[in-house]
Amino acid sequence: MASAKAYKDAALSKRLADRSYRPALDSDPTFVGDVERISGTTAHLCYQCGTCTGSCPSAPRSSYRIRNFMRRTNLGLKEVSLNDPDLWLCTTCYTCSDRCPRDLIPTDVIMAMRNMAAAQGVLPKNMLGTVNFIYQTGHGVPNSDGNRAARVKLGLEPEPETTSKYPEYLPAIRKILEAYGTKQLADKVLAEGQ
C-alpha cells in the first residue's frame, strides 16, 4: 500500500503498485479506540458477515461498502477511511444497525469517522452546501413552491411547523452552527475550494 515501483509508463506503474497491507506502516493503533469512543459501539467485534452491506440501500448503487469501513476500523486504516469519498454515501437509514447480528451500530461508526474527517477539514462540498442551506433556512432541503403546492393539495398548510413557518427561530439555529464552528468550517473549506 505504501510504495509504488517507478515504471516509466505512469499507467503501468499505477497498475503494478504495491498493494500489500503492512500493519506496521499502514495501521494507526489508536484508530479503533477513537472510533469506538465516539461511536459508542464495539466495532472490533465485527465478524465480517456482510449483513450490513446486504442491507444497505447505498451499496447496490455505489462503491460504498459499510463492511469495508468496519474492517478498516479494526485494522486501524485511518487515512484511507477518512479520505475515502465513499464515507459520505451512507444515508444514515440505520438498517444495517437494525440487522447486525453482533449488535453493532455500523451507522455510528460512519458518523464517528465523518466527525473525525470533518475535524481534519476533509469533507465533500455538497455536505458543506447543506450546512449553508441550514444556516440560511434552517433546513438541509428547504421548502419549495412545488412542495408547498403538494402540501396544500394534501390539505396541509403550505409551511410545516418548522423554521419555514417560524423564521424568528433562525438566529438560534445560526448560533448553534457558529458555536460548534460548523459554519466557519464550511466557509473555510469552501473558500479553499477543495
Binding site: C49, G50, T51, C52, G54, S55, P60, R65, R67, P101
Partner: protein
C-alpha cells in the same frame, strides 16, 4: 494473639495442643512467579501452633505429597495447611496425603493463594505476598480447631432413570440395562426417538436416519431391563444420590396396551396398532410431528415406526363420539375416560437427556419465516425430503406444490447472534446438515441449483471436511455472506439479498425455496426438569456440566448426569458418545452399591434446641424434621443424607442449636478473628 487458645477451649476437641504443618506450593511459576513464597513460608512459622513450614515446586506431585506424609510422622502434626490452588482441584489429593500420613483426612485445610492470590494480583508482588500471608493465617486458625470426621455411606438403589428418549436417552438406557441396571425411561411424547426420527439422512455418511435408529428404538422397547413410560413427565423429585424418589405423571393416553388390558381382565385385548380407530375418527387435526404439513386424527400415531406401537387420543381434540371404541371391537383397547396416573419410583441415579427444539425463527423478521410461504425451516425440509414424510419424499414448495429448481440455504439463522433476539452460540450441526440438504436437492432434482449462504463452514468432525469437498464437487454454490434480507416476489419466488463478502459485492439471487438453518435451544420442559433436580444451567440455558473438560457428563447435583443436546448442541456421533459416557458415570455409584457423602451435614445440639421448628421450612433440601427426644421434648433432627451442608439452618437458628460440621461457628469465628486481629502483634 488471642484467638486460637480461646476458641480451642470452646470446641469439643480433646484438649491436645495443636501442632500444625504448613506447606506452600510454587505451582511452578504460577504462584512463585507473582509472590514471595519464601516470605510466606517464614511468616507461617511465626504463627501460633505452627511447628513446620515448607515450600515446594509442586505440592501435588508425589514428592510433595510425601513431604506431608513424612512431616505428620516426624513432627506429630494434628493439622495440615496447604497453600496452593483450589480445593476443587486438589483437596482430594491433599486429604489423601493427610490420611496416608495417619491423620484423619478432615484435619486438612487449604489456603487458595493461586486463583485468588497470584493470578488476580499478578502485577502486585508485595500485595500478593501480604494476601497470601493472610490466607495462610486464616487457614492455620481453622486447622487448629479441625476435628476427626467420618464420611457417611448411603446405599444406592440398583435402578436408574433416564428422562427424554431421543437417541441420547435411548442409548443411555440400553447401556444401563445391558450393565444389569433396571432403567426407567421417561418420554413426554407418545413415542421414543426424538428429533433423530424426524430426519431423513444423516451426514456425513448419508445413511437413512430411521434405518439406523429404529432397530435401537425397537430394542429399547423390548429390553426387559428398560421400563418405558411414554406420554409421561416428571412431576416431583425428592431424595438424594442413591435414593431419588421421582414422581411421574403419566398422561391419559385413552388407549390400553395389551398388558394394561390384561390387568383389567380383558382377555386378548389391548391396542395392536391396527389403526381401525383412526380410520373412523371424524376429527382431523394438523400433525405436529410433521410440523402441520400433514393431517392426523384425534386418535393417532405420529408415524409408522413408533415405539411403543400404541395409538394415542388427543383429548384436547377428541369429541368423545365413541366411534373408535366401536371400531376397536373386542380388543377393547379404548378408554375414553382414562385419567392421568401419578406414581413414584425410587432410583439411585438419574440422567437428563431432554434434547432440543428449534428457535422460533420468525422472530428474526428479515427472513420472512411464517410470512412467506416458501421460506421453510431445516426440520420442515427434513420432513419434505423424507420418503416417510407428508410428500413421500418429493420436495415441493409450499405455495404451489411445484418442484423447486433453485434453493437457497441460509446458515446461522438465529445462531451466533448477539442482538438478544437470536442465540449467541453456534448451533454446531447446521453447517453440516445444510451441506447434506444441498446434496439432497442436487441428487433428487436434476438441474436444481443450491446456494449456500454461510459465514464459516464448520466441518470439524471426522470425515466432515471431506463431505464439504464432495458437496462443492456436486456443484453447490457457496456464497460467503450472511443473508441480510429476503423478499417475496409476486410469483412467490424469493429474492435473497446478501453481500458476497469475498467479492465485496451485494448479491441478489432469485430462488424458488429458502431453507433456514434455524438455531436450536433447550426444550421448554428442560427448564422444569432442571429445577426439579436442582441442576444448574449456563447463561444460554443449556444444562450445565460439572466441569466442561473433566466432568462433561456430571452435574453439580450428585447422582444426576447429562446426555445429548440438553447439555449443548451436538450431532448424533457426539450425542451417542456422551450418552455412553453418562451411562457409565451413572452406573458407577450403582455398581459400587453405596456412596460416601461428605460429612458436612448439620447436627442438632438437642439441649439447646427450643423445639420451635422454624428451621424445618428454611431447609431447601427438606432435610430437617421434628421428633420427640428421649427426654420427651420435641426437638429437630437432620436426615444427614439429604443435608447438603449449605448452612441455611445453622445461620438461622435463634438458639444456636444447629452445628455445621467442618464449618462450626467457633471455627468460622476463629478464621474471622485471625483475619482481623492477626496482623496486630
Amino acid at each position: 494473639m488471642v484467638y486460637s487458645g480461646k476458641k480451642a477451649s470452646e470446641s469439643n476437641e480433646a484438649p491436645v495442643e495443636p501442632r500444625i504443618g504448613v506447606f506452600i506450593c510454587h505451582c511452578g511459576t504460577n504462584i512463585a512467579g507473582s509472590l514471595d513464597v519464601i516470605a510466606v513460608k517464614e511468616y507461617a512459622l511465626t504463627l501460633p501452633h505452627v511447628v513446620v513450614s515448607e515450600n515446594y515446586a509442586y505440592m501435588c506431585s508425589t514428592p510433595g505429597q510425601n513431604m506431608i506424609h513424612d512431616a505428620i510422622e516426624k513432627d506429630h502434626l494434628t493439622g495440615i495447611v496447604v497453600a496452593a490452588c483450589t480445593p476443587r482441584l486438589h483437596e482430594p489429593t491433599f486429604r489423601t496425603a493427610t490420611a496416608n500420613g495417619g491423620l484423619n483426612p478432615f484435619r486438612f485445610e487449604m489456603a487458595n493463594i493461586r486463583d485468588q492470590g497470584s493470578w488476580v494480583h499478578m502485577h502486585d508482588w508485595d500485595g500478593g505476598t501480604e494476601k497470601a500471608k493472610d490466607a495462610v493465617r486464616i487457614a492455620v486458625a481453622k486447622a487448629t480447631m479441625l476435628e476427626d470426621l467420618y464420611p457417611m455411606a448411603v446405599p444406592v438403589e440398583h435402578r436408574a432413570m433416564v428422562i427424554g428418549a431421543g437417541v441420547a436417552g435411548i442409548q443411555t438406557s440400553m447401556d444401563l440395562a445391558k450393565a444389569g441396571i433396571e432403567t426407567y425411561l421417561i418420554e413426554k411424547e407418545p413415542t421414543i426417538g426424538g428429533r433423530m426420527s424426524q430426519l431423513d439422512k444423516t451426514f456425513p455418511t448419508l445413511d437413512c436416519s430411521q434405518c439406523i435408529l429404529s432397530p435401537k428404538m425397537a430394542e429399547a422397547g423390548r429390553m426387559p431391563g428398560i421400563k418405558l413410560y411414554t406420554l409421561a413427565e416428571v412431576e416431583a423429585v425428592e431424595g438424594y444420590i442413591g435414593a431419588f424418589d421421582v414422581t411421574i405423571r403419566r398422561h391419559a393416553r385413552g388407549v390400553l396396551t395389551p398388558d394394561e388390558a390384561a390387568a383389567r381382565g380383558i382377555v386378548g385385548g389391548g391396542c395392536t396398532g391396527c389403526g381401525d380407530c383412526s380410520q373412523v375418527c371424524p376429527v382431523v387435526r394438523p400433525n405436529s410431528w410433521e410440523f402441520g404439513m400433514a393431517p392426523r386424527k384425534a386418535i393417532y400415531i405420529q408415524h409408522a415406526q413408533v415405539v411403543p406401537l400404541i395409538y394415542t387420543i388427543d383429548f384436547d381434540a377428541c369429541v368423545k363420539c365413541g366411534l373408535c371404541e366401536t371400531a376397536c371391537g373386542t380388543k377393547k383397547a379404548i378408554d375414553l375416560n382414562m385419567e392421568d396416573e401419578l406414581f413414584t419410583i425410587k432410583v439411585g441415579t438419574v440422567i437428563l437427556a431432554t434434547g432440543y427444539e428449534t428457535f422460533p425463527i420468525e422472530e428474526k423478521s428479515e427472513w420472512g419465516y411464517k410470512l412467506y410461504d416458501n421460506v421453510i425451516s431445516s426440520l420442515e425440509f427434513e420432513r419434505l425430503i423424507c420418503a416417510s414424510g407428508p410428500t413421500i419424499g418429493h420436495l415441493i414448495r409450499p405455495s404451489d406444490g411445484e418442484t423447486p429448481k433453485s434453493v437457497g440455504f441460509v446458515l446461522c439463522a438465529g445462531s451466533r447472534d448477539n442482538t438478544g433476539i437470536g442465540k449467541p452460540y453456534c448451533s454446531r450441526f447446521c453447517c453440516m446438515y445444510s451441506l447434506k440438504h444441498a446434496h439432497q436437492v442436487i441428487e433428487k432434482i436434476p438441474g436444481c441449483r443450491a446456494y449456500i449462504f454461510y459465514m464459516d463452514i464448520r466441518s470439524f468432525g471426522k470425515a466432515y471436511e471431506e463431505f464439504y469437498y464432495r458437496i462443492q464437487e456436486e456443484g453447490a454454490k457457496f456464497i460467503r455472506g450472511r443473508v441480510a434480507q429476503i423478499q417475496e416476489l409476486p410469483n412467490k419466488n424469493l429474492l435473497v439479498v446478501a453481500e458476497d463478502t469475498l467479492l465485496g459485492m451485494p448479491v441478489e439471487i432469485e430462488v424458488d425455496l429458502v431453507v433456514l438453518a434455524a438455531a436450536v435451544q433447550p426444550t421448554a420442559e428442560t427448564e422444569v426438569v432442571r429445577r426439579l433436580f436442582g441442576v444448574s444451567c449456563s447463561a444460554d440455558k443449556w444444562l450445565l456440566e460439572a466441569h466442561p473438560k473433566l466432568d462433561p457428563c456430571g452435574t453439580t447435583t450428585a447422582g444426576v448426569y447429562l446426555a445429548g443436546v440438553c447439555q449443548g448442541p451436538k450431532d448424533i456421533p457426539d450425542t451417542v458418545a456422551q450418552a455412553e459416557g453418562a451411562a457409565s458415570a451413572a452406573s458407577i455409584p450403582i455398581h459400587s452399591g453405596q456412596v460416601e457423602l461428605e460429612p458436612y451435614y448439620a447436627q442438632c445440639v438437642e439441649k439447646l434446641c427450643a423445639g420451635c421448628g422454624m428451621c424445618v421450612g428454611q431447609c431447601p433440601y427438606s432435610a430437617l424434621s421434628m421428633i420427640v427426644a428421649d427426654d420427651g421434648r420435641t426437638v429437630m433432627t437432620v436426615t444427614a443424607a439429604k443435608c447438603k451442608g449449605c448452612g441455611t439452618c445453622g445461620g438461622f437458628c435463634p438458639g444456636g442449636a444447629i452445628r455445621m460440621q467442618h464449618f462450626t461457628s467457633p471455627q468460622i469465628l476463629a478464621q474471622i478473628d485471625a483475619f482481623f486481629l492477626g496482623g496486630e502483634q
